[in-house]
C-alpha cells in the first residue's frame, strides 16, 4: 500500500500560530477581568482552551486533512475519557448529601478567627469581625450542622 507522505494541503502555520498566541492572551485577559461570577471566567477560559486544542489538532496534527480513520481511532478513547468524570460526578462532584469531611466541619468552626488574623496581616479588607459573605456563611453553617448531625447519629 502506498501513502501520500506529504499531503498536497497547504496550511499557513504562521497564521495558526498567531491565532494560538491570541487565544492564550485572551485566557489571561478573561482571568484579569475578574467577573463577579467566577464560573463565567471558567467557562470562557475553557472555551478558549477548547478552541486552541481544535486549532492544534486540525492544523498542526493535520486531522483536518486525514481520512475517516481518525474517527474510528479517536472515538472509543474519547468516549472512555468522558466516561470517568461522568461516572464520578453524580456522587462525588455534585453529591445529593452534605459532605462531612472532618476538616470541613473544623474549618467552619474556626474560620472566623482565622479570617480575622488573615485580614489583619494582608489588609485584604475583610471585616475584622470575621463575618463571612452570605454564601460562605451558608456553607459553613451547613457543614457545622451536618457535622453535629453526623456525630449525634453515631
Amino acid at each position: 500500500m502506498s501513502y501520500d507522505k506529504h499531503d498536497s494541503h497547504h496550511v499557513n502555520y504562521l497564521a495558526v500560530f498567531l491565532v494560538l498566541c491570541s487565544f492564550t492572551a485572551l485566557s489571561v485577559v478573561f482571568d484579569l477581568m475578574s467577573f463577579e461570577n467566577h464560573a463565567v471566567t471558567v467557562v470562557l477560559v475553557m472555551a478558549v482552551a477548547l478552541a486552541k486544542a481544535l486549532c492544534v489538532m486540525m492544523f498542526f496534527m493535520h486531522l483536518k486533512f486525514e481520512g475517516n480513520w481518525k474517527f474510528i481511532l479517536l472515538a472509543p478513547t474519547t468516549i472512555l475519557a468522558l466516561g470517568l468524570p461522568m461516572a464520578l460526578m453524580p456522587d462525588i462532584g455534585v453529591a445529593y448529601y452534605t459532605p462531612t469531611a472532618p476538616q470541613q466541619g473544623e474549618w467552619g468552626e474556626q474560620m472566623k478567627e482565622y479570617r480575622a488574623a488573615h485580614a489583619a496581616e494582608h489588609g485584604h479588607g475583610e471585616d475584622p469581625t470575621g463575618d463571612e459573605p452570605p454564601s460562605q456563611v451558608m456553607h459553613e453553617e451547613e457543614h457545622s450542622e451536618s457535622t453535629e448531625a453526623y456525630n449525634s447519629s453515631d
Binding site: M1, Y3, K5, H6, Y13, L14, V16, F17, L20, C21, T24, S27, V28, F30, D31, T41, V42, V45, M46, V48, A49, K52, A53, V56, M57, F60, M61, G67, W69, I72, L73, L74, P76, T77, L80, A81, L82, L84, P85, L88, M89, I92, G93, V94, A95, P99, P102, Q103, Q104, E106, W107, Q110, E113, Y114, A116, A117, H118, S135, Q136, H139
Partner: protein, 345 residues
C-alpha cells in the same frame, strides 16, 4: 482489495499510542474536575497555593511556539530541506528546556512554601500542630550538637527532657565529661543558654497543645502517648487553649529573637491553613509531573533525530512526523492544564 487503515504503520502506531495517552491524562484531568466541582467555593485560591499565573501563561506560550517549530521542522523534512529541519528541531529543544526551567522555578516556589501533598495544614488547629512539630525539629536540631560526649556526658539521648537538665548544669558552670578548651567551653555555654531558652519556648507551646488537643482528632496510634504526656503535665489539662492568632503572634515573637530567631525563621513556616490544599497539591504535582515527564520523552525523541547531525535525511521523515504528533499532544495537554490549574482554581 486494500485492507487496513490507509496510513503508514508508524503513524498508526503513534495514533494508537496517543489514544491511550488521551485516556491516561483525561483520567487525571477528569478526576481533578470532579473534586474541584465537589469543593465549590472552598477550593484554594491561587495565592494560597502560590500559583503563578504569569509562569503558567509563559509556559503555554513556550509550548505553542514549540508546536509551531515542530510543524515547521516536519514541513521542511517533506521539502527535503534537512538543514532547515534541524534548525527548527533545535528551536524545539531549546523551548522544551525553557519550559522545564520555568516549571522547575514554579516547583521550587512550592517547595519553599511547603505546598506539598500531605504537608499542608487545612485548618487552624492543624496549622498550630504543624508549628509545634516544625519547632520541635528545630529544637532537636540545635540540641543534637550537645550530644557529643566531649561537650556533655550524654551519649545521644533521644528525649529532649534528658538533655536540657544536663545543659542547664553545663550552662551554670558544670564541667564537660572531657577536657575542653576554656574559650570553647565559654562559647558553648553561651549557646547553651540560648538553646535552653528556645527549648522552654517550644515546651510552653507544646504543653498547651498537649493539654487541649482533641484525642478524637488524633491518629489512634498517637492517642496513648498524648494521654500519657497530658498526665505528666504539672497543670494537667487546665492550661488554656491557645488560639490561632496567639500562636501566630507567639511564633512571630520567636522569629524576631536575636539569638535563635534565624533558626526558627529558616525552618518553621508561618501558619496558614489552606482547606483542600493537600488535594490540590496532589492533583497539581501528579498532572504537571507526568506532563513534565512527557516533555522529557519528547526531548529524547528530538534529540535522537538531532544526533544524526548532517546525516538527517528522508529516512527520518516518519520519525520527525510522529515525534511531532507526540509533541503536539503534549502541547494539547498543557492547553487544558493551564486554565484548569491556574485559572479555574
Amino acid at each position: 482489495m486494500k485492507m487496513g487503515i490507509p496510513i503508514p504503520n508508524p503513524k498508526l502506531g503513534m495514533w494508537l499510542f496517543l489514544g491511550t495517552e488521551i485516556m491516561f491524562f483525561t483520567a487525571f484531568i477528569g478526576t481533578y474536575i470532579v473534586v474541584r466541582v465537589s469543593a465549590g467555593e472552598k477550593w484554594p485560591q491561587p495565592h494560597d497555593t502560590h500559583i503563578n499565573i504569569l509562569a503558567g501563561a509563559t509556559n503555554t506560550f513556550v509550548l505553542i511556539v514549540s508546536s509551531f517549530s515542530v510543524v515547521m521542522a516536519h514541513a521542511a523534512m517533506g521539502e527535503k530541506r534537512f538543514e532547515s529541519a534541524r534548525k527548527w528541531l533545535w528551536v524545539t529543544m531549546v523551548l522544551a528546556v525553557v519550559f522545564l526551567g520555568i516549571k522547575g522555578f514554579e516547583y521550587n516556589g512550592k517547595f519553599n512554601y511547603d505546598i506539598l501533598p500531605g504537608r499542608i495544614a487545612e485548618t487552624p488547629t492543624q496549622a498550630i500542630s504543624k508549628v509545634d512539630r516544625e519547632l520541635e525539629a528545630v529544637v532537636r536540631g540545635r540540641l543534637s550538637m550537645y550530644t557529643n560526649e566531649a561537650v556533655i556526658s550524654n551519649p545521644r539521648p533521644d528525649d529532649l527532657s534528658t538533655v536540657v537538665p544536663q545543659l542547664q548544669t553545663f550552662h551554670q558552670g558544670g564541667e564537660p565529661a572531657e577536657e575542653m578548651d576554656a574559650e570553647l567551653a565559654a562559647e558553648f555555654r553561651q549557646r547553651a543558654a540560648t538553646d535552653i531558652e528556645l527549648f522552654q519556648k517550644w515546651k510552653t507551646l507544646h504543653e498547651h497543645i498537649v493539654a487541649n488537643v482533641s484525642l478524637i482528632a488524633l491518629k489512634s496510634a498517637e492517642i496513648s502517648s498524648y494521654r500519657a504526656a497530658r498526665n505528666e503535665l504539672a497543670e494537667g489539662d487546665r492550661l488554656p487553649e491557645l488560639s490561632f492568632n496567639e500562636v501566630k503572634a507567639y511564633l512571630a515573637d520567636m522569629k524576631a529573637n536575636e539569638s535563635y530567631g534565624a533558626s526558627v525563621a529558616a525552618d518553621v513556616f508561618d501558619p496558614q491553613p489552606v482547606l483542600y490544599g493537600n488535594l490540590f497539591a496532589s492533583c497539581y504535582f501528579l498532572m504537571t509531573g507526568f506532563h513534565a515527564i512527557h516533555v522529557l520523552v519528547g526531548m529524547i525523541l528530538f534529540g535522537l533525530a538531532l544526533y544524526q547531525g548532517t546525516q538527517l535525511n528522508e529516512r527520518w521523515d516518519n520519525w520527525v512526523e510522529n515525534s511531532g504528533l507526540y509533541w503536539h499532544f503534549v502541547d494539547l495537554v498543557w492547553i487544558f492544564l493551564f486554565p484548569l490549574l491556574y485559572i479555574a482554581s
